[in-house]
Amino acid sequence: MVKKVNFKAPLLFCLMLFLLFISSSTAFAVADRHIYDEGNLLSDSEIAELEAVAAEHSRKHDVDFLLLTSDDPEIFFITNFMGDFFDDWAEENNQENAVLLTINSATRDVYLAGFGTAQRSLDNQRVELVLDRIMNEMRANDFDAAFHKTVTTASRYMEFRPGVNPEHIFFKNWFQILIAVLLGALIVGIMIYNSGGRITTTARTYFDDQNSKVITKKDVFRNKTVTRRKVQKQSSGGGGSFGGGGGSTGGGRSFSGGWRKF
């Protein structure tokens, strides 16, 4: 039985790999510029490196990964600042699909938004997951690493089917390997245990139906207890205040998103 599976499975596996290869090698045209460091939070070499990373991942998903920074303490609503920027950017570049990380170092706000197709492929839940993972870098003012991580993490999440939690334990390789190894060990263990013959007598084998009887069978209700518990609203924990859940820009572009203080 196993031999058969062994034979077929690698074939299927190769097919999947092939499909994956085809889908990932399709390159899209992308914008020339991804980093808009208006707050001067990054060095030139950092910008050059981030441009390369952003371009690479942008090609993969046909979604531009953008970084917008500011050090303006007057910006009250980071969503407005971000929305205005994106309305202009989208017109200029004729591209509606983008992931935009906006950082204001003066007000210590950070906002991550997904536009166009990224609204679905990087929905609110995934935005929160990305923000969870970059908050340490944000607090350390390591904006270079924060954007780098945003691009790679979001790009990874966008490979998953929309709506699926990409951090689900089932998708972890270590988990899959662990289950496979445990299952193999369990089944082979049972096979070894049973190789010497199984006990096939049961509690019924020697049971005398005719003369066995239940003399007393009493189930007396004694008391009842009721406990109540308030359902906690789902929260994604973590430090800092946060909010969001998307919205629309002044130009009428809707987006998914999440906001945090760092």
Binding site: V2, K3, A9, A203, I215, K217, K218, T227
Partner: protein, 342 residues
């Protein structure tokens, strides 16, 4: 005392035939019912020196046996003999399950069994190295058990439901009381010291529909043993077999609850009747890689037990195969569900 069953036709020594259930003559093929076998053809020879030494009626040779053997073959002329004084008085069996599987069938069944061993080395699977097959009647005590159980428990039924944003957990508590009178019939325990208890337990069950009143001719042509342990000595072993049965019966009467906590469990077992019976077992001695492996086969049903050699290579193969298939299955699920392979 040595007993021979002489063929009324030709005078040869007859032996029990598992296929017909009759005494059969190897020379002329005559078959006789055990119940109606003529008395005058049962030759009994009392030894002048009383017990211990037996002479074969057929060739006069001394029959060498150990102290517990009750049926054997003469080592010189191989005539089947039954040492009947070891089967009388307190050693008289009351029941017997006759052999149903002949030697040829046993060999075939054993070979078929070795082929089924998925983890056995391939060379073992050929089943070609049977060194010796011995048909043997093993002494068993069969106990009719009376068990009584008096049990009290606290059980709960838990119900959870949501109204608005509140989760309610309702727990109903019940006092449970059960009084049970349980009977088990003919629970076997092997009474021979030589036989491995675990092996003998795994040979069960025997079909009691074919349990016969004991007659000595059933033993002709096979080896047989008498018991080493009396029924008192074996009762604790049977008790330990029956207690889990009683436990599972108790839990089957307490059903429909979320949790059951037993506060009091009084279980008594006593034996009502004990039967001394002989059960048929084929012992298979098998040479493999210079080691002798012993297997036992139920002489009635053909079930084989005993530890076959395990091939590390095959274990690794099966493990790898199962683990790899499981991993691939999970990869397929994560591809279908999440759209990614890793």
């Amino acid at each position: 005392m040595v007993t021979h069953y002489k063929c009324p036709n030709c005078g040869s020594d007859m032996s029990f035939d598992s296929e017909s259930g009759h005494l059969s003559c190897p020379s002329c093929g005559r078959q006789d019912e055990i119940e109606s076998f003529p008395e005058e053809n049962i030759i009994k020879e009392f030894d002048s020196e009383e017990v211990k030494e037996y002479h074969c009626e057929n060739c006069g040779a001394i029959i060498l046996t150990d102290a517990n053997t009750t049926a054997t073959n003469c080592s010189f002329c191989s005539a089947p003999v039954v040492l009947s004084d070891r089967l009388t008085g307190e050693f008289a069996p009351s029941k017997v399950v006759p052999f149903k599987i002949s030697k040829d069938e046993a060999v075939a069944a054993f070979r078929a069994w070795t082929k089924k061993g998925r983890l056995s080395p391939t060379s073992f699977k050929s089943g070609e190295r049977i060194k010796k097959m011995t048909g043997m009647y093993v002494p068993f005590w069969l106990y009719d058990i009376e068990g009584s159980a008096n049990v009290t428990a606290l059980a709960t039924k838990v119900r959870t439901y949501t109204r608005g944003d509140t989760v309610y957990t309702e727990t109903d508590f019940y006092d449970i009381h059960r009084e049970l009178d349980l009977r088990y019939l003919k629970v076997p325990a092997d009474a021979s010291e030589k036989m491995d208890d675990e092996l003998m337990d795994k040979l069960e069950p025997y079909d009691y529909g074919e349990l016969k009143d004991f007659k000595m001719p059933y033993l002709a042509g096979y080896l047989a043993e008498k018991y080493d342990y009396d029924d008192e000595a074996m009762f604790s072993r049977v008790e330990s077999k029956v207690l889990p049965y009683i436990d599972s019966y108790i839990s089957s009467t307490v059903s429909g609850y979320s949790t059951v906590n037993y506060s009091n469990k009084n279980i008594h077992t006593q034996k009502k009747n004990v039967h001394y019976a002989l059960f048929p077992v084929w012992m298979v001695y098998y040479d493999f890689e210079k080691k002798e492996h012993t297997f036992a086969m139920n002489g009635q049903t053909g079930k084989v037990v005993g530890k076959p050699p395990i091939s590390g290579f095959k274990v690794a193969g099966w493990f790898t195969g199962i683990a790899a298939s499981a991993l691939l299955a999970m990869k397929a699920v994560s591809f279908i569900w999440g759209g990614v392979l890793w």
